[in-house]
């Protein structure tokens, strides 16, 4: 297998309202014990990719805390690496703060890598994919770039403003356009690109000479006419997280075993940071159904259709329904919560009745006390 460098690209990711006020989506908690970036990096790792970088746009702190030295994701901790790539210089000038300028600034990652190919993958699009097949296809087709996409039948209602690929009958990418919801059948871009090292270097030069505001996506869009950009069809679980409503819906949707099994597979472990918290303890009065619960939690209340993060306390008499309770949160006795997201470390101790809508959750912010 050729050498590959996998880059988790956080530039241009959407925001999830209050949830991403102090963190990027990459380090936002998902399904109790994961962060979004775990899925991106695990896709790399499970595809045999041991060289990784994370192109960070902003809000570095929480990501650094989660990734640590990055050894959780590498098969070999000496040969492999997971470098955080951050462009301090442009952090306060949004127009310049793009993936190309980041790569130019952090070119040392490319220099230290022996990769023949670079794979860019986002964190806000969640999918499970073995890149090896796509890479073989990329090599066979002698493409300059291969873009991964999925055929989608609900283009009018989902993936609005995400990239759509216009393809010719042979799968060549003719154009990249934002999905405005005009059509049902669309080819939605996974914002995942396979590029050879030499081509990527050309792109960096091209962007320098053309526009400092260009992102990789812009270069690709600009070059569709001149370059042989191919496409590779992905089939399987794909969700785009572009708002807190998406986050709420796509999280709770995983309580359905069919959906769960399309994202997770026994031979595809998701690596994450471990906290050595003890197993969940249920009290005498616990009543729990249809829920995921993460370790370290102590539950003595009623929990239904919910996702409970690490080290959450739910006191006796509390009632939780269709909620996402993140790590270290505390739900006091007799609190009733329905359709809520309670962010890390928040305490619900004074309000006895919190209710959101089933498609628009009420959010209690990180470490707030209500």
């Amino acid at each position: 297998m050729p050498h590959i460098l996998g880059l988790a690209n956080l530039h241009g990711a959407p925001h999830l309202g209050p949830l991403t006020e102090r963190r990027s989506i990459a380090s936002t908690s998902f399904l109790g014990r994961y962060a979004f970036v775990d899925f991106t990096l695990s896709n790399f790792s499970n595809s045999g990719i041991d060289q990784m970088g994370i192109l960070v746009e902003e809000k570095l702190r929480s990501l650094v805390k989660h990734i640590g030295s990055g050894v959780s994701y590498n098969a070999n901790t000496k040969r492999g690496f997971c470098s955080i790539m951050y462009n301090e210089q442009y952090s306060s000038s949004p127009a310049y703060n793009n993936d190309i300028n980041n790569l130019i600034e952090n070119h040392w990652v490319l220099d230290q890598s022996n990769a023949d190919y670079i794979i860019f993958a986002p964190c806000h699009l969640l999918y499970r994919m073995d890149y090896r097949e796509a890479l073989q296809y990329h090599i066979k087709k002698k493409a300059s770039v291969t873009m991964i996409y999925k055929k989608f039948e609900d283009g009018q209602n989902s993936f609005i403003n995400r990239d759509e690929l216009k393809l010719d009958e042979n799968g060549r990418v003719l154009n990249i356009v934002p999905n405005k919801g005009a059509k049902k059948n669309i080819n939605i871009s996974l914002e995942t690109y396979i590029i050879s090292r030499s081509k990527l270097e050309e792109f960096l030069e091209f962007a320098k000479d053309t526009s400092h505001f260009f992102s990789i996506r812009d270069v690709l869009s600009y070059m569709t006419g001149q370059l042989y950009i191919h496409s590779f069809a992905y089939e399987g679980y794909l969700r785009c997280f572009s708002s807190e409503e998406d986050y709420y819906r796509f999280s709770l949707e995983l309580l359905n075993p069919d959906v769960l099994n399309s994202l997770f597979a026994p031979d595809w472990p998701i690596y994450t940071r471990t906290y050595d918290t003890p197993p969940v303890r249920y009290g005498d009065d616990a009543k729990i159904s249809n829920s995921f619960v993460s370790n370290g939690s102590m539950i003595d209340g009623t929990v239904k259709g919910s996702i409970i993060g690490r080290s959450v306390t739910i006191e006796k008499g509390a009632k939780i329904e269709n909620c996402i309770i993140m790590s270290d949160a505390h739900i006091g006795a007799n609190a009733k919560l329905k359709n809520c997201i309670v962010d890390n470390g928040a305490k619900v101790i004074h309000c006895n009745d919190l209710k959101g809508d089933s498609d628009q959750p009420l959010i209690v912010r990180e470490r707030d006390i209500v």
Partner: protein
């Protein structure tokens, strides 16, 4: 502290009374508490006590245990000054020997200790469940200018006959050791945790190795030898939960102890003294639509669709809808099918209990269900 004290963990025992649970693994590797192996407790204690160099002496079915210990990273014993030495019996210039006793096991690794060159050596047992800060015990050892400090637990007079008992003077200096005395003079039971000043230990081990009548045991031979030589031996009283799980019944009881809200082991307290363990790659646990889970401990990676109460459920265990599990320990990967009832039992790892089985429903004694 870092280079002052080396811990030597005795982990070679089979634990015969644990029946088939130790058929393929040594007793320290037996599962406990929903996510742990027993050896996680002394190793986590050592890590939290600031000890960075640990030798683990393995013998019975050592492969699984050696793999589990690895480079010590589960307990963070892989830092820049760390040593996690796995020490099974070996062939040497003088021939090949099994470990003939607890003292002999340490004696055969004197070269390892000499290389570490410690001031003090902490001897631990790999099969006890407790949380203890050994740094406090070392401070006590130094304060008393002791040659040997023995950690003791204050037990009841009735229990005392089952333990090795330290008879002490008013200042807690030890004047006599009695193994399982019929008429105990004291209630201070040895926990099998010793801090030796290394020089004293080294001399005693060499003497003991030359003594052909010795059983090479710390309690039976080394301690009496040091007492006879008027060395300074002190008892250090430990307060807290401590359990030696020698039998199926006591392993079951130790698991049940975790369900008591008082949490005397402090498993859910002392955040900076967490019991560290292997990293599991499983999903969070899933509790099904019609499940009923009460008064239980359930680990990550378990799936519960049936009725569970008063139980401890490990990762990868599946309790189907229509199954009833009460007052039981369900080890990793065990599967309780719909219709099955399991009461007052330990279900060994990866055991399938089919839907027709009703196990130990009126059971007084704990049963082990294994393959």
């Amino acid at each position: 502290m870092q280079n002052e004290m080396v811990a030597m963990l005795l982990a070679g025992g089979k634990g015969t009374r644990l029946l088939s649970l130790t058929k393929k693994v040594a007793k320290p590797a037996v599962y406990y508490g929903g996510k742990y192996r027993i050896i996680d407790f002394p190793l986590s204690n050592a890590a939290h006590s600031g000890i960075t160099r640990v030798g683990v002496l393995t013998q019975y079915e050592s492969v699984a245990l050696n793999n589990y210990i690895g480079n010590g990273s589960h307990w963070g014993i892989d830092g820049n000054n760390s040593v996690a030495g796995i020490l099974p019996p070996r062939q040497t210039d003088e021939g090949a020997n099994w470990y003939r006793g607890t003292a002999d096991a340490i004696y055969q690794n004197i070269d390892f200790l000499d290389n570490q060159n410690p001031e003090y050596v902490l001897i631990l047992s790999g099969d006890h469940i407790y949380k203890m800060n050994y740094a406090k015990m070392l401070a006590y050892h130094k304060e008393h200018n002791a040659d040997l400090t023995v950690a003791v637990l204050n037990v009841t007079m009735e229990e005392a006959s089952r333990f090795g008992i330290m008879n002490v003077n008013e200042d807690y200096s030890i004047y006599e050791f009695e193994e399982k005395p019929k008429k105990p003079k004291s209630t201070l039971a040895s926990m099998g945790i010793y801090i030796f000043t290394y020089k004293t230990l080294r001399d005693a081990l060499i003497r003991d190795a030359k003594n052909e009548e010795s059983e090479h045991d710390f309690g039976k031979n080394i301690i009496p030898d040091l007492l006879a030589r008027k060395k300074r031996l002190f008892a250090y009283t430990f307060e807290g939960y401590w359990k030696d799980v020698g039998t199926i019944a006591s392993l079951w009881q130790a698991n049940m102890d975790l369900l008591d809200p008082s949490d005397s082991l402090r498993l859910y307290k002392d955040d900076d003294f967490r019991i560290l363990s292997e990293d599991a790659r499983d999903l969070p646990q899933y509790i099904g639509k019609n499940a009923n889970v009460r008064k239980s401990i359930v680990n990550q990676g378990a799936m519960v669709f049936g009725k569970v109460s008063g139980s401890v459920i490990f990762k990868g265990a599946i309790i189907e809808e229509g199954a009833i599990v009460t007052d039981s320990v369900i080890m990793p990967g065990a599967h309780i099918a719909s219709g099955a009832q399991v009461n007052h039992a330990i279900v060994a790892d990866n055991v399938f209990i089919d839907g027709n089985r009703k196990e130990n429903l009126d059971g007084q004694d704990v049963v082990l269900l294994s393959r």
